[in-house]
Subunit: 329 residues, 2 copies
């Protein structure tokens, strides 16, 4: 009897971020066999990053004692607007890419079919197919990290809208005239609940005389912006009232954004994820859920679930594998 | 050769509002043959309103020199959450109805099959099928009147979400902590751009010493709240700076709400309608479009149309006829 792994049936999911590349090797049944991580080094340019993605994939395959010949397909999520037909990155501000042929170059480097999607769409797909086993009819994923993004699944299928741009919940305005957002507008959800916006607000509060244990947690020469979401959790657990207040506010804004999604689109499940939620789920989820239900119209949230993903930062690679499986069938 | 009208193939669309009932008689090709209008008199209770709806329908049929025997089906939109399967109104605050068997009682009264939907869903359907000839892939309708409502068409079909409540764009929050809304929350789009909210803000501005020609336009004993959207247009055309400013602000809020829809869902067409837009299209649409495009992420609004409906207050009866045709095929 041949080893099942001798066939060309394994799948690779890749989460390409602005700072790191994560790759995972999966069975056709989406069991995770091995992972590998490498820094992105976007400053070295497109060709260098392609080489690093290829290396991360080879490492993940090697980690699981498998061979590249067993790979049926690669699914990769990028922090970008994507042309999925051509597998091109249209615009990726955090990578400095414009019109970059990600699919073609990766296929050249590895000789395996690749498929490219937006990172939040791919995380949503991973949560939907693997964690929720494709059970809900309609689902929305919301991911709080460096920025805020989202993905939509309707009638069991990823929904990307007319221009394939749907899911940009981070740039829906919930506080007209509010804080400036990276996109140039004001009062976007992202400007109120992303890690970037949380640290910016903390910095402002400290400048105005606020006190926080975070200042003691900095290593010599480390800037405030290099801290991570996990540091916020540590600060709160040390009794830091300022960090607690800022996180509670971010959770309340997130709850209102969830309610907006429920009132307007009416999904069955809203899943929260991303680095901020992964680190601060205990501190934020109950406020998010309570606020969201509070702002829902009567009947809107009946039997609706608002939950954090259990996949954590593995949502992206799971989604990548799901996509690779769909496209290589 | 028999008259085409001798067959039982005509359709009736009904727009049931809090203050008036509008009925229209249509050919199978959705050509409008005649209309009739009656006040709702919701205060007289459910049975009285059913009788008035039936009378409005009979009047519209009579107006077009047709007979009730030629009617194949009735489609009716109500300002309510609806159970479309059972044809029941779940909750209609402006009518004072809860769990009201609208479909059954109307069928009893007229002996014609009836189908019931939310008023904004039905207006969206009317605009989509009749005005846009079902061409756009995805469309969102936004209606500014006494309140603010919306409807969604995805892949050519009405989308109502998990609990059949989708489209409640009026109660998405765009200004956290903003003006109080009828729903009990603060900062809802409806609390910033409905006719009710526009007149409330005008009243406040006048109390604080603002000047407006509207005060001269009131009949003796008439309260400020009895004025109509058309009176706002008249005031602006008389050079009323206060009304102009308030309407421009409402248009800007509406543009931001449109951008939220575009960024999150990515429809191909957004159609604006309702009494406020019908009366103030010239004053509001350019601001709405400019603001919406300004708040869109790159690529989101490419080849996307943001337009006022030409059907005006006939959108609802057209949608009712579309629905009646769909359900009686």
């Amino acid at each position: 009897m041949p080893e099942p792994s001798s066939k060309q049936d394994l799948l690779v999911g890749v989460d390409l971020g602005g700072t790191k590349i994560l790759a995972g090797l999966f069975t056709p049944q989406l069991k995770l066999l091995g992972t590998s991580k490498l820094s992105t080094k976007a400053n070295r340019g497109f060709d260098a990053v392609i080489e690093r993605i290829a290396r991360t994939i080879r490492d993940a395959v090697d980690e699981a004692d498998m061979s590249m010949k067993q790979i049926r397909g690669i699914g990769i999520g990028a922090p970008a607007t994507i042309d999925p037909e051509r597998g091109e990155v249209i615009f990726a501000p955090n990578l400095g890419w414009k019109d970059a042929p990600l699919k073609n170059e990766l296929e050249k480097a590895l000789d395996v079919p690749a498929v490219v999607e937006n990172d939040c769409n791919i995380c949503t797909l991973g949560v939907y197919e693997v964690e929720l086993q494709a059970k809900p009819k309609h689902m929305v994923g919301i991911f709080l990290g460096t920025g805020v993004g989202g993905g939509i699944v309707l009638d069991g299928k990823p929904f990307s809208g007319f221009n394939r741009t749907a899911g940009e919940i981070g740039h829906t305005v919930i506080l007209v005239g509010g804080p400036k957002c990276g996109c140039g507008n004001r009062g976007c959800f992202e400007a109120l609940a992303s890690r970037t916006s949380i640290f910016r607000r903390l910095e402002e509060e400290l400048k105005q005389g606020g006190k926080s244990v975070l200042t003691d947690m900095l290593s010599p020469g480390q800037s405030f912006k290099e801290l991570k979401s996990g540091d916020l959790r540590k600060a709160i657990r040390k009794g830091d009232k300022l960090v607690q207040k800022v996180i509670e506010d971010a959770a309340e804004y997130t709850g209102i954004a969830v309610a907006n999604v429920l009132n307007f689109l009416g999904p069955q499940v809203v899943v929260l994820g991303g680095g901020v939620i992964d680190a601060l789920s205990d501190e934020m989820m109950s406020i998010i859920v309570e606020t969201a239900r509070d702002y829902c119209m009567p009947g809107v949230d009946k039997n609706v679930e608002i939950i954090p993903t259990k996949l954590g930062d593995l949502a992206g690679i799971h989604g990548g594998a799901v996509l690779a499986r769909q496209k290589s069938r």
